[in-house]
């Protein structure tokens, strides 16, 4: 399999549209998430006001991020935790490796972590003879299939039941090959049993963090399965991977964000397990990890502070923008070729990888605005995508044809008389060509568009002409 890349977005998207299994899987999500979120939001009259408060909490925290990180670190250390700072993914990987080596680790269980994905941690651990075991059911399925997550909260959303069964038969070779694996419960029970053994033999458990609490030095994870909890309470060492912007001031502030998170993500009132962890096990505690490490990863984020892109750091990774995105719904997550797919990925990926590498993504949007509408943190995703397009243009990264076309258009639009004349001429020409069928089957320079649909033939003149006519009619009626 060729490695996925944002540079090949168009080809990957085209392939995704033709992938029958993927299209079958995406059919499962298109309605479910949207309807559930709407019901959950409607059930809480304060939902919109909570969104405003959530935005204010995050904006305040981001404006004082250095201070909150210092406060968080102080409390985490007081509670017996060890805090490590990493400028980039490579440094973070080395810290993980050092902790694992010190613990003599051979098996590492992992809770779902997007920061772990950003670090490309699994291949690195394998290369160093440490076996990473993903424990979130979706992550486990894609680990067996040698894939990356295609959704930030539902990593195996692109996989169908029969494909899960195939993966289990291939890897769980100690089990009878003719066992029934047709139904969801069979698959779940088998994964539970297989992973239970791995939980118990693991030396180190790695989780992400939904929030860090400056007030108490705690990390919070939110899961439905309980895998993150078994990952952190059974092994001797617990490592938390978190990006800088995960810190919030107080438990009360985290609570406001928690009231938004599950409702926006899955439409649940609350996810099943929200776990607040503070330091290692205490004297007298009968269980829990003896060591508690937190790795604070920057990975290009600090370069964006004080810029217009800072707003993206309000993101709480609920996935609502993916669930509501018509582009994501059509092609799934892998076509983006980046760790973070969907609208949030279109804004975050150019920041993390460079606009030169991920420039196609902010262009792959019709700006329908649904992502911004449902984002609990009111991140202006379309606006930020537009800013990336501007930056791409300023840095002369678009193809020559696009630059030439835009340049011509900009030249014409600054000359209103010429523009109107040109538009009238083009419209009349198109109306003439489409006069018989009422539509055009092909158009020069728009072959990509007309390859899939016909363009209705223009009727009744240009927009300017229609507008003028309408205004004069209204003036007459007003009188």
């Amino acid at each position: 399999m060729t490695e996925l890349s944002p540079a090949r977005f168009s080809e990957q998207a085209a392939a995704a549209l033709k992938d029958a299994a993927l299209q079958r899987a995406l059919g499962n999500m298109r309605i479910g998430f949207i309807e559930k979120r709407r019901k959950a939001a409607d059930k809480l009259p304060e939902f919109e006001a909570l969104r405003d408060e959530g935005v204010a909490i995050k904006n305040h925290t981001l404006a004082h991020l250095d201070l909150y990180l210092e406060a968080y670190e102080k409390k985490a250390v007081e509670a017996g935790g060890q805090v490590h700072w990493a400028r980039d993914a490579g440094e973070a990987r080395q810290i993980v490796l050092r902790i694992c080596r010190d613990a003599g680790a051979r098996t590492v269980t992992k809770g779902k972590s997007m920061i772990g994905e950003e670090m490309h941690l699994n291949p690195f651990l394998e290369a160093n003879d440490i076996e990473p075991v993903e424990t979130d059911l979706g992550e486990y399925i894609i680990q067996l299939r040698h894939e990356t997550p295609s959704h930030i909260i539902a990593p195996a959303i692109h996989v169908n039941k029969d494909q899960v069964a195939d993966a289990f038969r291939e890897h769980h070779t100690a089990l009878p090959p003719d066992r029934p694996l047709d139904e969801g419960p069979d698959l779940l029970a088998e994964a539970r049993t297989e992973l239970r053994e791995r939980f118990i033999e693991a030396d180190v458990g790695i989780t992400g963090a939904n929030f860090l609490i400056a007030e108490t030095g705690s990390s919070i994870i939110v899961t439905n399965e309980g895998n993150g909890d078994l990952t952190q309470i059974l092994p001797r060492v617990h490592i938390v991977l978190a990006s800088l912007e995960k810190v919030v001031p107080t438990l009360e502030d985290a609570t406001t964000l928690m009231r938004l998170l599950a409702r926006s993500a899955t439409g649940q009132e609350m996810s099943v397990y929200t776990t607040v962890s503070t330091g290692p096990r205490r004297a007298g505690d009968p269980d829990g990890p003896e060591e508690y490490h937190v790795i604070l990863l920057d990975n290009g984020r600090s370069a964006l502070y004080g810029t217009e892109f800072q707003e993206v750091f309000r993101c709480i990774r609920c996935g609502a923008c993916l669930n509501h995105c018509p582009v994501y719904g059509a092609i799934g997550g892998h076509a983006y070729g980046t760790v973070y797919p969907g609208p949030i990925g279109k804004v975050l990926s150019p920041a993390l990888m460079g606009i030169d590498k991920a420039g196609k993504l902010p262009n792959a949007s019709s700006f329908c605005g649904r992502c911004e509408e449902v984002c609990p943190m009111r991140i202006p995703l379309p606006k930020l995508m537009r800013h990336w397009r501007e930056e791409e243009y300023d840095r002369k990264l678009n193809p020559a044809a696009v630059r030439w076309g835009l340049g011509l258009w900009a030249w014409a639009v600054r000359r209103p008389a010429l523009y109107r004349f040109g538009a009238r001429f083009a419209i009349a020409g198109m109306a003439f060509l489409g006069r018989r069928r009422g539509h055009l089957k092909a158009l020069p320079m728009a072959g990509g568009w007309t390859a899939h649909r016909n363009l209705p033939a223009p009727q009744g003149g240009t927009f300017h002409d229609l507008w003028r006519k309408r205004k004069s009619t209204r003036r007459r009626t007003d009188r």
Binding site: E225, I233, G288
Partner: protein, 226 residues
């Protein structure tokens, strides 16, 4: 320069922070010590009876089962009923919790209980809740020498005894109770907020219970303190 200084230095510069932290440092210190409450949904702002009902509604909505008993004396029978209803063995592992000590377990001679942390293959556990939040039907469970966290996750069946007085309308009241117990800015190693039994929708977006944690969560609400 180490990474910590590099990252913080970069942030300070971008955020125009003066060397002594300036007014920002004061604002941050004040916000942390005040831990003011933000907007609290009206939903849970009810009297005691209303809170208990709301908690039960939302816990049941999250697929937990709930039994209500008048006193600790009735807890063993409620536990035995639950085990019988699901054809489960009558041996349990329980938290060595002082409140659970007040439950007259011997009134149900078939039940055998061991007070310890959970291990494979324990089938059912009993723990006591620190508190609960009516707003979403959520239990608040804390770790400690009397409350091993493994009991909340390893067994397939988790029974939680919840004294009704500990049900608050909102999360904020629970944070205050935790501060009263553990001190300002301090928490036990683990605080578990639990809303229903474990589940996964990772296979074709269909919810199935019992992913890695308990398949069943049974809550016994005790109306009166012993």
């Amino acid at each position: 320069m180490n990474s910590r200084e590099a990252i913080l230095g970069d942030l300070r510069q971008k955020l125009n922070r003066p060397a002594d932290g300036g007014a920002g440092a004061q604002a941050v210190a004040e916000r942390l010590s005040a831990h003011r409450r933000n907007l609290i949904p009206q939903r849970g702002q009810l009297d005691r009876a209303g809170r208990i009902d709301l908690f039960e509604d939302y816990a049941a909505g999250a697929d937990a089962t709930v039994a209500r008993v008048s006193s600790a004396e009735a807890v063993p029978a409620a536990v035995a009923d639950f085990l019988k209803a699901h054809n489960l063995p009558a041996n349990l592992v329980r938290a060595p919790d002082a409140d659970l000590d007040t439950v007259p377990w011997e009134s149900q001679p078939t039940l055998t209980l061991e007070a310890r942390k959970a291990e494979e293959p324990d089938a059912a556990s009993v723990t006591a809740a620190f508190g609960a939040v009516a707003e979403t039907g959520t239990l608040v469970l804390v770790s400690g020498d009397d409350s091993p966290t493994t009991l909340n996750f390893l067994p397939e069946n988790h029974i939680v005894v919840l004294w009704a007085d500990r049900i608050s309308g909102d999360y904020e009241a629970q944070w205050s109770a935790l501060r009263d117990r553990y001190g300002e800015g301090a928490l036990p190693r683990t605080v578990n907020l639990v809303t229903g039994p474990s589940r996964s929708a990772d296979i074709e977006q269909t919810i199935q219970l019992g992913a890695h944690g308990p398949r069943r969560l049974h809550i016994v609400i005790v109306d009166e303190r012993p």
